[in-house]
């Protein structure tokens, strides 16, 4: 072993001076079993795709619904407690007046909201009924033309996005539910929900919808310096069938569909993760059985249990990250396709935010780590002598 003690470099084949790191070994192992790695990553990707797509669709639908409730420049919104859908909420004019008279309330604006089919591309076009006097408190800014008259039966204003989408302008007309309306103005509220809608005088929409004397919700602004929570409590005590909503997590109080949506999303998320974990664990167990001698050998030559665990988990996380990347790509493709579904047009907006990537990463790593738990434990607990005797 004279070469050893001299410390001199032997004549070495080219390209061999770098050395293999532990992470390099993990990547090498994944690359060696390329097909298995890709197939397992694809299983992770399908789960990630399901998780991401469900998450984005749910968030988008919730966001669309929530926009209805956070309309205007109000401090909070009042609607019927426990409605299955906020659009079915009923608040009477008397209740709106009582709310407006509550101490600490600066203004309370009754708003009626309904939907109408314009064409195949706009199956859920929103109609908003607000009296002309309440337009400013509702946050409406006239961009072109003028506001409609208080009881004008054939006048309508279009949100600027709706006008753009429908190719309409002031002076033109629009046919809704078989009736033609004159477009007298274009407006902006800085909210997608309202800007993609049409606005009518409140009484006109109440007549159209056969809902005289009722609105969907009331948007409330409190007097500056007044405690908002105290005013909310007062309103709810005085009107037990009404609920106030200020934060996004309170929307479920007046729209049970949002609660169902959340529950369905959570359930689907768990199912997608469990399926992913089972598929990946199955593959990793097969891989473990194939590699028993390898693991036994590594233990026999001095690898600690911790190092073996690190290798198995490292491979699982490598597969997970690859799966996360593929999954986000698949999810993006699927969401883009969903945007073209007529029933989702205008309601669903696919947005690949950092949150989406984080969800993909967390879910993929969760799948990888959970799936690796059992196989890695078995690998670490192997008796090397027994493993090496395996044929």
């Amino acid at each position: 072993m004279s070469n050893e003690n001299e410390g001199s470099a032997p004549l070495v084949p080219a390209g061999l001076h770098g050395g293999m790191s532990f992470i390099g070994l993990i990547l090498h192992n994944l690359n060696t079993r390329r097909i298995r790695t890709l197939l397992t990553a694809f299983a992770v990707a399908v789960s990630v795709m399901a998780v991401v797509t469900l998450g984005v669709v749910t968030a988008s639908l919730k966001s669309s619904a929530a926009e209805v409730l956070s309309a205007g420049t109000s401090d909070f919104t009042v609607a019927q407690r426990g409605s299955s859908d906020v659009l079915t909420s009923v608040v009477t004019d008397q209740q709106v007046s009582r709310i407006a008279a509550t101490p600490g309330v600066e203004s309370a604006v009754g708003v009626l909201i309904s939907t109408v089919r314009v064409d195949a591309d706009h199956p859920l076009f929103l109609e908003i009924g607000v009296s002309p006097a309440a337009l400013a408190p509702f946050g409406v800014r006239i961009l072109a033309g003028r506001a409609y008259g208080a009881a004008a039966p054939r006048e309508v204003m279009l949100g600027w996005q709706a006008a753009q989408d429908l190719n309409k302008r002031v002076g033109g007309s629009i046919v809704l539910d078989g009736t033609s309306y004159d477009i007298v103005g274009l407006y902006s509220t800085n909210q997608v929900f309202a800007d993609t809608a049409a606005m009518f005088p409140l009484v006109t929409l109440q007549a159209m919808e056969r809902k005289p004397g009722t609105v969907t919700l009331a948007v409330v602004k409190v007097t500056p310096g007044t405690g908002i929570q105290r005013v909310r409590n007062s309103i709810e005590q005085a009107n037990p069938n009404l609920a106030t909503v200020r934060e996004a997590n309170e929307f479920g109080r007046v729209d049970r569909n949002l609660q169902f949506l959340d529950a369905a999303h959570t359930g689907a998320l768990i199912i997608a993760l469990v399926i992913g974990v089972i598929i990946v664990m199955n593959t990793m167990l097969l891989s473990f059985i194939e590699r028993i001698r390898e693991f036994g050998l590594l233990r026999a030559v001095g690898w600690s249990r911790r190092r073996l665990l690190a290798m198995v988990f490292g491979e699982a996380i490598g597969i997970s990250l690859l799966g996360a990347g593929i999954g986000v790509g698949l999810a993006f493709a699927l969401m883009t396709a969903l945007e073209y579904f007529s029933s989702l047009r205008g309601i669903f907006h696919a947005e690949l935010t950092s949150e989406v990537f984080a969800t993909a990463l967390y879910s993929a790593v969760a799948i990888g780590v959970l799936a690796a738990l059992y196989p890695s434990a078995r690998a670490a607990l192997l008796q090397p002598g027994v493993a090496l005797r395996r044929e």
Binding site: L11, P13, G302
Partner: protein
């Protein structure tokens, strides 16, 4: 202390453990060891000692228990009864087995057990994960070890591309990677052609004579066993004979029966 494949003067030693024995001191000991696999008794009351710097050959027919005994010394299995010690420490409960396997012993198997998807140099390197050498130092050491067993020109090749003898020499380089106190070899020439047997045994001889490496080698080849300082013979799980000293090398096939008399004293070793 003589450790196989010891690190160069400019490298940090990664070896663990306390005081190291000098030549002739006890390194490994089996005391009244039984091993049972279900109803099969692989070893029965085996007692023996291995001294520092000794080259011991364990011979016997197939299924006699010689590999089982080696696996006990390698801490790959535990005895059903009895105790195996390394430098006086019980391998059953006084020793961190992963550290022991990594730093105190080097293992050579009959079928080399190299990882087929790694090239030769990486096969040697991976046993150095966990010592204190960096990536480049590990690679440099692995290359020097491959050079020392004359397979440096095969460093970039994977095991399926190597001959049997080359694979076994890569396996020897791997066994020496962490400068073990004892080299344990289980039928290291069992699957080799005569020319490869000679090269592998020459490597063992050089390690033993130049570096004083303690070697415990299981073999059923009497010619191979003759290279060792001492030979013990196992049949049906018990030691049935032994041959001592340099002269005993020539009589390894005609060992003295010592049935039911366990080896208690290690023989004198040839002067260096």
């Amino acid at each position: 202390m003589h450790r196989a494949g010891e690190l160069g003067p400019n490298q940090t030693s990664s070896l663990e453990g306390g005081s190291e024995p000098s030549r002739g001191q006890l390194v490994l000991e089996a005391a009244a060891v039984d091993v049972e696999y279900g109803s099969v008794r692989a070893l029965a009351g085996v007692s023996m000692e291995i001294a520092q710097g000794e080259w011991l050959a364990i011979t016997g027919p197939s299924g006699s228990g010689k590999s089982t005994l080696l696996q006990l010394f390698a801490a790959l299995d535990q005895p059903t009864r009895g105790v195996v010690t390394f430098q006086g420490k019980n391998l059953g409960n006084d020793v961190n087995l992963a550290e022991y396997r990594r730093n105190q012993i080097g293992l050579v198997f009959q079928l080399h057990n190299l990882l087929p998807h790694l090239d030769a140099v990486s096969n040697v390197e991976i046993v150095m994960f966990g010592n204190r050498l960096g990536r480049r130092a590990r690679r440099a050491r692995a290359l020097r070890l491959l050079a020392s067993v004359d397979v440096i020109d095969q460093a970039a090749r994977k095991p399926p591309e190597l001959s049997g003898g080359e694979r076994q020499r890569v396996a020897i380089a791997r066994a020496l990677a962490n400068s073990p106190a004892v080299l344990l070899a289980d039928e290291p020439t069992g699957s080799l052609d005569p020319a490869s047997v000679t090269r592998v045994m020459d490597t063992f001889t050089r390690l033993h004579e130049e570096e004083g490496t303690t070697i415990v080698m299981v073999t059923h080849d009497s010619a191979v066993a003759r290279r060792a300082d001492r030979t013990i013979r196992i049949e049906s799980g018990s030691i049935v004979g032994q041959g001592n000293g340099g002269e005993a090398k020539d009589r390894a096939t005609a060992v003295t029966p010592v049935r039911s008399t366990p080896t208690r004293r290690c023989p004198g070793l040839p002067p260096r």
